[in-house]
């Protein structure tokens, strides 16, 4: 053994003992995905074996030496029907199985916890509802469905967590979503898989799966002092949204209390559900999204609010459950940084007060 060169030795010891062949299964959907994957691998292996067996056995049996005279055969409808129908059947099984999985992965359950993810060249920013921000990292608890609402600030990106078997494109100007339920605590890869320019390959990070207790500790330790909704409230006041959306009988804009999730009729007569995507569009491109009965006077906020700012506003509007909350915002147009009682007691991270203004300017 002593004459093996050090490089080969390093290859054998260091690499051969330390490389991956299959990704960890760390979410509830992962074993389901892998079941279909291995079914397909099996079908492929059987198909490939048949093709190889046919080629080799015919090559041996009917080589020119053994079989100098070719027998001309037209074809066989029965055989051809066989190898049309069997593959078709197998492909249809894979289609249905795959579609079931697809709908499961992209249809978040109603009780999922929502985390916002903003992609930009070349980093991922995650925003937890409690106001915790992370860059190129995502902390999630086990045993709880997590929905990611994803958007890109510039080009296409794609948020991929191989260990969870989920991936979703981050599209400029549009929310997309995906959900998962993590099962095994640990640290997993987070990749951007859509080519996005110079540092595409550095747009990676860690997904840290924690037990619910550890996750709570992490939440408490990383708070920025105010939740997304509170940031949104501040923005709502400073952009003077309440000048029109103020719940007064003569208000020029509709009341936003309980608007989230409701059915709206637009001035075009179109019926829509007010979801995250609609709220975002109605803020940035209001003239196309006027509620019936109101004049199209709202100015566009395109270019004035960053994607994070829009998320704060959406989160604020989502949590507006009564006119009273709007009036509170209206009443305090010269709003203090911490509007609500319990947050004033919470330790304020340095720089937390500057965060809200940052959210307002386009970066």
């Amino acid at each position: 053994m002593s004459h093996i060169s050090p490089i080969i030795w390093q290859f054998l010891v260091k690499w051969m003992t330390n490389f991956a062949l299959f990704p960890p299964e760390a979410s509830k959907i992962a074993p389901q995905m892998d079941a279909l994957y291995f079914f397909m691998v099996l079908v492929s292996l059987v198909g490939l074996t048949i093709v190889i067996l046919l080629i080799t056995s015919f090559s041996i049996l009917y080589s020119k030496k053994r079989h100098p005279v070719a027998v001309q055969i037209e074809g066989s409808t029965l055989l051809e029907a066989t190898w049309t129908i069997i593959p078709l059947g197998l492909f249809l099984v894979m289609f249905v199985w795959g579609a079931l999985l697809y709908f499961r992965i992209y249809t978040p359950p109603a009780n999922a916890m929502n985390i916002y993810v903003v992609g930009k060249q070349w980093m991922w920013k995650a925003e937890h509802p409690g106001g915790q921000h992370e860059i190129n990292a995502l902390h999630v608890p086990t045993g709880r469905p997590i929905q990611l609402t994803i958007i890109s600030q510039d080009v296409f990106h794609s948020f991929s967590i191989p260990a969870f078997r989920v991936k979703r494109e981050a599209i400029p100007g549009r929310y997309t979503s995906v959900w998962f339920e993590a099962t095994t605590p640990g640290t997993y890869h987070l990749f951007c898989t859509q080519y996005c320019g110079t540092d595409h390959s550095h747009m990676i990070g860690d997904v840290v799966v924690l037990t619910p207790e550890d996750y709570k500790k992490w939440l408490d330790g990383s708070t920025s002092g105010s939740s997304l909704a509170q940031n949104g409230e501040r923005l709502f006041a400073s952009l003077s949204c309440a000048a029109c959306h103020n719940t007064r009988p003569d208000a020029r804009g509709p009341s936003l209390a309980n608007v989230y999730g409701s059915r709206l009729t637009l001035s075009s007569g179109q019926q829509i559900t007010a979801d995250d995507a609609y709220l975002r569009e109605a803020i940035l491109n209001p003239s196309q999204h006027i509620t019936q009965g109101y004049a199209p006077i709202m100015p566009t906020y395109q270019g004035q609010i960053s994607e994070e700012g829009v998320i704060d506003l959406v989160e604020y509007i989502k949590n507006l459950d009564s006119d009273y909350r709007v009036q509170q915002t209206t009443a305090s147009t010269t709003l203090l940084p911490e509007g609500e009682g319990n947050t004033t007691k919470a330790p304020v991270a340095p720089g937390a007060n500057q965060r809200a203004p940052q959210g307002m300017v386009k970066q």
């Binding site: 994957y37 079908v43 490939l48 093709v51 079989h67 492909f91 894979m94 999985l101 697809y102």
Partner: protein, 554 residues
């Protein structure tokens, strides 16, 4: 059923005919101004081989960079340019014109019994457009390159990169017209120029495959041109069709792009399938099993191929129901390919098989295309696509189809028709070795990438987590073997131009009309237009022809 004995002719007395398309006229101008489809095919062959080696060297650089997890050979920007140019050159300047513009151009008129393509000057124009586009692409590469990837995805290409997007887009735009002209020429020729008696169902399957591919070229490529023009307008004057802040839709570009670029993979693979049909039949001395099924499966691939483009966007927030439909159609397009594979396999049944180089490449094609096709089903099933798309799994999948499939078919066809094109044989032993080396090198390069993709390694990464290294080392090692496999044919084929054995008219005892005339052929292909009274792959007809010849000479 009936029996056929085929004996190869004695080659010791064969001579290269004095009068042929190569000797008819001399001088550079006689080549540059030629209208002869055979000479244009040779011009194409030289130019696409050049671009293949440019693209191949870029691939070598990519593999070298990926030998280590860090981006240490090149800066990430350089790496991005290298893989972008690799994709653009290989797709638009090698794969799309590969078989149609070279072998198709040379052989189709001869197969159908015509003296030339219907539009010889348009044929020459298409070569000039190709060369102009190629020079433009090389110019952009030399002057700084482009780093959008071959997909030119907006808004990256329109708003965020500072490289030569417009000139490269222009190169692709022009190359597209070259492809449209080739397709148009084939369609007109196959409709109008068939010899008397050459009915549609007497056409060799090579012609059927090219007909299907030509329809895709003519209908699909204009959409690519439109997409590129819109992208260029967006980049220069900001018309906003793809810009969400102006009410545009960033996904629209991908719809337009893939509306061409998915059929484009069938433009690339169908002519290759045509080659395989000819080769398998010839070297098993047997007609293709289920001619009609193979012919119509080409047409079915072309038709379904137009309605699967959105399977490139399953994870991009298109509606779930659109995903259902596109996933289903993708499954349907996989079926005709399966039919072809099994029909070829059964063509061997009760044949009389020999294993010359073209046949070895054809076997390689069948194995690798089966893997490439099956892994396509992994990606067509919407659920597994979520995990596997945008990773090395997809890189491995399309390289199995494009390199393992198309390039194997191209090499098979070049070896098969080499005697007809040049009048000389290639050296058999070394080229069999090259076929085996290519096969081994290919599997070593691209099989590990399936595992990498399943692990989640994203494509287009200049650096990657260290636990992926060993598989990348295998892949890079395979790429060097593959490189040897591709260099060998260049060397021995060039050698054979002067020193190869004289081939004679029909060294393989094949049935196609192109094999019934001298090699290399006359400029006008046939001294007199043949009258066709037999089906394609009729080996008994060939026997009777030979008996007649012997009788008339004797």
């Amino acid at each position: 059923m009936s029996d056929t004995i085929v004996t190869l002719p004695d080659q010791s007395t064969a001579r290269i005919p004095k009068m042929n398309y190569l000797t008819k006229e001399n001088g550079l101008l006689s080549w540059l101004l030629t209208g002869d489809h055979k000479r244009i095919a040779i011009l194409y062959l030289i130019s696409i081989s050049f671009f293949f080696f440019v693209g191949g060297s870029l691939a070598g650089l990519i593999r070298l960079e990926l030998l280590t997890p860090q981006s240490d050979l090149m800066a990430t920007d350089t790496y991005n340019k290298v893989f972008s140019m690799h994709g653009i050159i290989m797709v638009f300047f090698f794969l799309v014109p590969s078989v149609p513009a070279t072998i198709g151009n040379f052989i189709i008129p001869m197969m159908i019994g015509a003296k030339d393509l219907a539009l010889p000057k348009v044929n020459l124009l298409s070569w000039y457009l190709y060369v102009a586009a190629g020079i433009l692409a090389l110019y952009t590469m030399a002057s700084g390159g482009v780093d959008t990837g071959w997909t030119f995805t907006t808004p990256l290409s329109t708003h965020y990169v500072n490289t030569h997007v417009l000139t490269t887009g222009m190169a692709v735009f022009i190359a597209g017209f070259s492809s449209i002209f080739t397709g148009l020429n084939f369609i007109v020729t196959i409709h109008k120029m068939r010899a008397p008696g050459m009915t549609w169902f007497r056409l060799p399957l090579f012609v059927w495959a090219h007909y299907a591919a030509s329809i895709l070229m003519v209908l699909g490529t204009p959409v690519l041109a439109i997409a590129i023009v819109l992208m260029a307008l967006e980049r220069t004057v900001g018309i906003g069709v793809f810009d969400p802040t102006k009410g545009g839709d960033p996904l629209l570009f991908q719809h337009l792009f893939w509306f061409y670029s998915h059929p484009a993979v069938y433009i690339m693979i169908l002519p290759g399938m045509g080659v395989i049909s000819e080769v398998i039949s010839t070297f098993s001395r047997k007609r293709v099993f289920g001619y009609t099924a193979v012919a119509f499966s080409s047409v079915a691939i072309a038709v379904f191929g137009f309605f699967v483009w959105a399977h490139h966007m399953f994870i991009m927030g298109i509606s779930n129901y659109a995903v259902l439909i596109f996933s289903l159609l993708t499954m349907l397009v996989a079926v005709p390919s399966a039919i072809k594979i099994f029909n070829w396999a059964f063509t061997l049944y009760k044949g009389s098989i020999t294993f010359e180089t073209p046949m070895l490449y054809a076997f390689g094609f069948m194995g690798l295309f089966t893997i490439g096709g099956m892994t396509g089903v992994f990606l067509g099933a919407s659920g597994t696509d979520i995990h596997l798309t945008e990773t090395y799994f997809i890189v491995a999948h399309f390289h199995f189809v494009m390199v393992g499939g198309m390039l194997m078919a191209f090499l098979s066809g070049i070896h098969f028709w080499w005697p007809k094109m040049t009048g000389r044989m290639y050296p058999e032993k070394i080229s069999q070795l090259a076929a085996v080396v290519t096969f081994i090198g290919f599997n070593l390069t691209f099989f590990p990438q399936f595992i990498l993709g399943t692990l989640g390694m994203p494509r287009r990464y200049a650096s990657y987590p260290p636990e992926f290294q060993i598989l990348n080392v295998f892949s890079t090692a395979g790429a060097s073997v593959l490189g040897v496999g591709y260099l060998l044919p260049v060397l021995y084929l060039t050698w054979s131009l002067k020193y190869g054995e004289i081939a004679g008219n029909n060294p393989w005892q094949a049935t196609g009309l192109e094999w019934q005339v001298q090699s290399p052929p006359l400029t006008e292909n046939f001294p007199e237009i043949p009258i066709v009274d037999h089906e394609a792959y009729d080996y008994e007809w060939l026997e009777r022809q030979k008996e007649k010849e012997v009788a008339s000479v004797g």
